[in-house]
Symmetry: C2
Subunit: 351 residues, 2 copies
Amino acid sequence: MSTPILGYAAQSAQDNLEPYRFERREPRADDVVIDILFCGVCHSDLHQARNDWANSVYPVVPGHEIIGRVISVGSSVTRFKAGDQVGVGCMVDSCQHCEPCHHGLEQYCVEFPTFTYNGTDRHDHAPTYGGYSEKIIVSDKFVLKVPDGLDLAGAAPLLCAGITTYSPLRHWKVGKGSKVAVVGLGGLGHMALKLAKALGAEVTLFTRSADKEQDARRLGADNIVISTDDAQMAAVNSRFDLIIDTVPYVHDINPYMPTLNISGTLVLVGYLGPLDPFLNSAPLVLGRKSVAGSLIGGIAETQEMLDFCGEHGITSDIEVIKIQEINEAYERMLKSDVKYRFVIDMASLKA
Amino acid sequence: MSTPILGYAAQSAQDNLEPYRFERREPRADDVVIDILFCGVCHSDLHQARNDWANSVYPVVPGHEIIGRVISVGSSVTRFKAGDQVGVGCMVDSCQHCEPCHHGLEQYCVEFPTFTYNGTDRHDHAPTYGGYSEKIIVSDKFVLKVPDGLDLAGAAPLLCAGITTYSPLRHWKVGKGSKVAVVGLGGLGHMALKLAKALGAEVTLFTRSADKEQDARRLGADNIVISTDDAQMAAVNSRFDLIIDTVPYVHDINPYMPTLNISGTLVLVGYLGPLDPFLNSAPLVLGRKSVAGSLIGGIAETQEMLDFCGEHGITSDIEVIKIQEINEAYERMLKSDVKYRFVIDMASLKA
């Protein structure tokens, strides 16, 4: 028997998000039925609601930073039981048989993962609807355990902003003695500061505005470099092993390349598109440097990140909103007017 | 007492190379005096002779793929003695105290290495003159041992083309089971095929011309992919762990990015300049892929490469010329009319 659900959806690229009633599938044997408590508001939600990537299928129910409580589980589910605090991130399924899936890299599934919203279920071919809703039903393989002691609202953004920055920090082996820089101080950037610091790195924030210094230091930055100040940039020449670039729009990455140490890597996590102006290969060749990209993280790594955050008491800095405030929140996000993530208290849906 | 030397030099960007008499320094305690037997002709020689990089200081005596025999050694030299077969590559000195130098990465010396020609000696500030000459005098730290049994003329290009391709193969851990592709079949490309194959990789050549197939297979390629053939490109989607891109001029690297496996790297070794057209970051982010660069190799790694070539009987495919034919050879290089490297028999200088 399918489950009637109340959520918020965009019915077209031009529409505000409004209440929307839909049905979720009858739970399968491997499904976990989750009562959604909090849902983070990611920039992707806005892009998808407004069809910025030209791939939206309406109605769009956004939300992939989901924290909830298990209501019930299917007959084959052993890892979860009613009452557990759980998370769901950007993916709810993948092919499970390709090489990346076998290596725990479901985000790079050769057949593409099933995204939490604006996706298509691999079994019944129904559209997927995200976390701006009462409940979600997800295969147990894609449900994460949320460690005790973490603030549940603050934990929601870990499911996307957290893992998106944690995964490259781990892949490029950041630890004690590493020198990491972060470009951009938003939802992703503020998590990158916290996580890099907790991993033991010396952490620097590149920013264009000096007024971010106090906040950056509170979040874990040891140093702040004003990226438009030539003298400050020259002072960090050849300094960093890894630069996490969280900027979500086209921007010039050339000025950051000289600040990488020999064999260092700048990893893009926020921007998909042409690197305009032209990336100059000379600093790459003359210093064995790399420009790379990284996409969220696999399920096992997401669990590892949540456990790491549990141990270190790391959550996102958030502003809790009611679902009725979502359209206003989107407008404020467009002006970067949020420190540093909106999280919807889903209890408001019942109000 | 300084040593009078006959060499070949360009006196300006417009001049052909012509005989030129100059002096080399009085040998210092750590110097090795080398009678030059063979010198490979690298594309850089042509660029520098013609001031293509706008940094040439005339006269330019090119040549940094040098094979010779030791004539004498300074008082503090213990690793070499008269009669030894030795090599000199692109560098003759470096600061020896920066972090890269301490890690055997003299090519990335923070104060820049002293290049074998068109450089400036760190001690007497005299210009450096390269291997298109009778003799060269080099600090023992920058002199390589040439294993017995290697054809000396064929070994000369190992000092630049060999190490330039060997270093990234080693840095990115190519070995048995690796899948490597090479873009471009010239001096660098043909060495990349041989070395990747000898390291145990499955090797593919990307080329625009089907007529290179037979030669590529002889040199070590398991597969040939015509890069302008969409079906052939699609057939190697997500295949390669490492792509060595040896193309020495501006070119579009975007078509190669889908052929990298998850976490794969395309490394540029031949081109310094803007990546035009724009590199698209989407394949980087969606597959954790990297675009990197690499420059020659350190001295210890160059020795490792020569020893590896000695064990595997690897030399360059060459066409031996007389020094008097150098200007004609440059014209043929511009038309890629060489398989795969010109090497000057320096005995011709005495003719």
